[in-house]
Amino acid sequence: MNETIVTYFAKFEWYKSLVKALTEMLGFNAEPLMVFLFFFLAAFIVVNVMAVTAGLATYAERKISADLQLRMGPNRVGPYGLIQFLADGVKFIMKEGIIPKSADKFLFTLAPILCLAGVLGSLTVVPYSSGFILSDLDIGLFFLIGISSLVGLGIFLGGYASNSKWAMLGGMRAAAQIISYEIPVVISGLSCVLLAGGLSFTTLIEAQTGFPQGWFVFHNPFTFIGFFVFFIGGLAETNRAPFDLPEAESELVSGYHTEYSGMRFAFFALAEYIEVFVVSGVAVALFLGGYNVPFGLGGDGILGQFLQLGAFFSKTLALYYVVIWFRWTLPRLRVDHLMTLCWKYLTPIAIFNLIGTGFWLYGFEGKSLFELLFKSGAAAAGGGH
């Protein structure tokens, strides 16, 4: 059965007493109502926290890029310019949403919504901690791949519906890029599924430990390469630099969202920044130990949950920093280089990694490199007597 955030809270006494009190007050079984309310509340909190994280990420992006280029960055609104993103959000809301006269109005309004819906849907299975996961589906990773494919369609339809050649080219590039890079990402993720023996994120994370020697990235040489393949492919799927061809400013004005303004543009931007968080979070969950805390500090209670949240968020935000760092360091790839990288390098490497991981599992009975080294070292030192 799938674990959810509601089944986590249902273990506590106060939840049961709350259900009991509500049942007595309302006169009918309040269990489904409570489940609905808790899911609604949890989803509300997750979406809002993610929106604020995305907002702060735009601030971080501007500050870090300013740092890398010896500039100041935003520093007028609030202390250190911290609430600059709120001012930007207010501006987005106040702006007039313009739809070009010859655009396809139905698709033009639908595209940003599809984009955001795909990203927010993928938040369902992102494991923040062992209890705070909206729904730990048995098909977690597969569900994530499925629901996030809406993003590619949204971007492509946005480019098509704008009826502008720049948007059109950007949308076509985005669709080709997202479909192509899904393959190395999925195959390198699959090697972790092999090691853990399950698709659900809790299974994947429980198979790792809080310390780096238990992480899948250091499990064997194949997963070590696989992590980089996964991360590069994930970068390309979120259309971030150096893979930001769909919105290449120097060639295509602004790519697929050239004709968008106001909140519709904000939806695209929000979707991109949340998707970077999701990709970093999934990379952390698959390869970098996820929410595991060393020594299981904090136990099973609420304190442990918050420590796990801290572990997950600090690793994810560190990867987020790397993504921003890449953007302001590396130049953009050319279109043919992009496809060459995907089909001639990343995909064969990912397939090789998958087969190699399979052989490793068969040959060393699933032991990690550290276990093997420690065992042989102990044997050489005369241990085991």
Partner: protein, 177 residues
């Protein structure tokens, strides 16, 4: 309660999407309505407890087939199809001849007979929707069945897909003079 709501929403999605595909004149809009219908079908799979099939529906149809269809429509210039008269529908208000009308009428009667008298009673007799939404794990079972009982079908379909892949590469390859 959740099961019923999920069933109603996804059934509404799939039916409305299917009606939209037929009703709209713009072929791109038809693709998007088809997407809506396919998502509704994925929801129907979920109500039946087949979560893996639902996710596969999303991956294959939403992520692959619909994008490919939109691509194909766009690259073949289908965007202004509402202006052109490609299928001759506007030219001939009375499509078809007496023969096609007779065949269509008989098949319509047959189909409605099967739906009303054979299928619908079974639908109403069928099990009620799973109300607790507590499902068994399906992924392991599907995996075991794929490599044990249905290994031949699995291998044949993988060879077929490999053939399609090689064929596409051969067709797309630039010709050397």
């Amino acid at each position: 309660m959740f099961g019923n709501i999920l069933f109603l929403v996804s059934a509404l999605f799939s039916v409305l999407g299917a009606v939209g595909v037929v009703a709209t004149k713009n072929i791109m809009h038809a693709c998007v309505y088809l997407l809506m219908s396919l998502i509704g079908v994925a929801g129907l799979y979920l109500t039946l407890g087949a979560d893996f099939v639902a996710a596969t529906q999303l991956v294959v149809y939403v992520g692959g087939v619909v994008i490919l269809m939109v691509f194909a429509v766009m690259l073949t210039g289908g965007a202004d199809s509402q202006k052109s008269n490609r299928f001759g529908i506007k030219k001939t208000p009375m499509m078809g001849s007496i023969g096609t009308y007779i065949a269509g009428g008989i098949s319509a009667i047959l189909a409605s007979y099967i739906v009303i008298f054979r299928l619908l009673p079974k639908v109403f007799e069928a099990q009620p929707v799973n109300s607790t939404m507590a499902f068994d794990k399906t992924v392991e079972k599907i995996g075991m069945l794929l490599v044990s009982d249905h290994v031949l079908a699995f291998e044949i379909s993988s060879v077929l897909l490999l053939g399609a892949l090689v064929g596409a590469a051969v067709i797309a390859r630039p010709k050397r003079n």
